[in-house]
């Protein structure tokens, strides 16, 4: 009996640890707790991106290195800067991106540990649509056993289709699950979905 107890306690401890680090804890709740700031990041990005397509994120774990990708007609430029570095503002100016809004966006992203934001094209009935892809590394997902996990949000412009379990479906064949970046997404509301992924983009 004593041996059983000795085994049981560590097993229970590990189980509790694993559960506490499990992505289940990061779900719709996280979005609603941070809805205002998440939606604000999405709005700012969408507005700036509509004039000059770009993507931005943090490539270092300490959120101090910013990666900036700017898409022009002929080339995509990829740069890396330290947060607050003058070169960032100079580069934004050079490509006609609004300096203050982009830097504010970067700061906002840093404050909530948003690792990446970009836009993706997709097509419905041959019409081009756009979704905003945002990944966050919340502190709750920063535990040793889950440090590879990212909370991914997708913002659609149109209401989407979901199955009875709230899983995102394709429009054309309603029974077929839609994967974005190889991941299955779950419903938060008609236009916003989430998933937990091992990669931030």
């Amino acid at each position: 009996m004593k041996t059983n107890k000795n085994i049981l306690l560590p097993v229970l401890f590990i189980a509790v640890m694993l559960y506490s680090c499990s992505p289940k804890n990061i779900s719709t709740k996280y979005y609603y707790q941070n809805e205002k700031v998440l939606d604000s990041i999405e709005e700012s990005y969408k507005e700036i991106n509509s004039s000059t397509p770009f993507d931005v994120g943090f490539t270092s774990k300490d959120f101090k290195i910013v990666s900036l990708g700017i898409l022009t007609d002929s080339l995509k430029y990829i740069y890396e800067f330290k947060v607050g570095e003058d070169r960032l503002a100079d580069t934004l100016k050079k490509f006609g991106l609004p300096v203050k809004p982009v830097i504010e966006l970067v700061m906002q992203m840093q404050s909530i540990r948003c690792t990446w934001i970009s836009s993706y094209d997709y097509y419905t009935d041959e019409k081009k649509q756009e979704l905003i892809f945002m990944s966050i590394k919340p502190v709750a997902l920063n535990a040793p056993l889950s440090y590879k996990k990212y909370y991914i949000l997708t913002y659609f412009q149109q209401p989407q289709y979901f199955d009875n379990n709230g899983l995102l479906l394709e429009r054309r064949k309603l029974k077929r699950l839609r994967k974005i970046n190889g991941e299955i997404f779950k419903r938060i509301n008609d236009k916003v979905c989430y998933t937990v992924s091992t990669t931030y983009r």
């Binding site: 397509p53 993507d55 490539t59 270092s60 774990k61 990666s67 990708g69 898409l71 002929s74 080339l75 995509k76 430029y77 990829i78 740069y79 690792t115 970009s118 836009s119 993706y120 094209d121 997709y122 097509y123 041959e126 590394k137 440090y147 590879k148 990212y150 394709e170 054309r172 839609r178 994967k179 974005i180 970046n181 190889g182 091992t198 990669t199 931030y200 983009r201």
Partner: protein, 319 residues
Amino acid sequence: MVFKPHTHIANVKKHYKKFWLIVGLFLITCSCVGNHSLYAPFNLKVHKSTAKEALEYINHFDFSGSNTFWPNVNQHLFLKNIKKNVTHPISMYPGEGTYFCAYSALSYLLLQEDPLGYAKFITSLYKDGKATFRDVLYEPSGAIKREAGLLKYRGIMDIQPADQMWFLTLADHFKGYLNIFNRKYDLGDESTFWASVNYAKFNRMGKKLLDYKIESKGSDFLRPRIKNLYGYITEKLKNGKVVLYINNRIVHKKNHVKIKLAVPTHFIVIEKISKVNDVITLVYWDNGGRTLIQLSPAFLKRIVYGITSFVNQQDYENK
């Protein structure tokens, strides 16, 4: 639109057992380390052509009775797609999150070299369900024919059914050791080992698809031993096209894990390379567009696993 790098051996975690089996097999049969000349025999008659010739061919092609083999390929979109490919090869897009980057790099080179050859092949494939290109018969399986036109959430590839046909057909036809455990297409396999391309397979495909003298240096696991990599690439670019096989996971990070598996994952076509004060500026083509990055010589050395150069047959003879 945002360009996204793709990985070949990326899902290692999910398939780690298979992966290490493959690694073992590879090491046993390893034969692609070093400098290999993969010279295609001269008996192949390939005509170089222009976009104008290709467009003319497409405009006069008889499409009657064409929609029997590819039930989900919309003819209007198909035509739009192939016309765009022959006139704007740069926009050839392998799709978001697929493992088609190797096929697209070769397609980009092919479309610049022989758009008419491509047009003849793809229209024939569409009409007859099979087609021959440079003496090789491509006959995709039923699963491929059913799926082409249905790939979704792959960016502009969603409305480019000819590209879906083309990439799926190439992936179905060419096989390497990475495809041993997944040879038959199932739904979603465009992002699995089914579509993966190892370096030897890439060079083999280049030999079959392109009329170039091909030289390669490198392998899937060991970086090529080249003292001055920048100089080597610059020299090769003077004589033709250069494709680099790189570890894209350290170029375009996807997570914050510090220890990453040092394996190449991506193919890029080099357009321009220059060096100022030990900073290399690299302009390359991948995923439907050109990208400019700046990197140090040491970083370049760290990411490059293979260098394949494509030299024009005639230029090679004149050398």
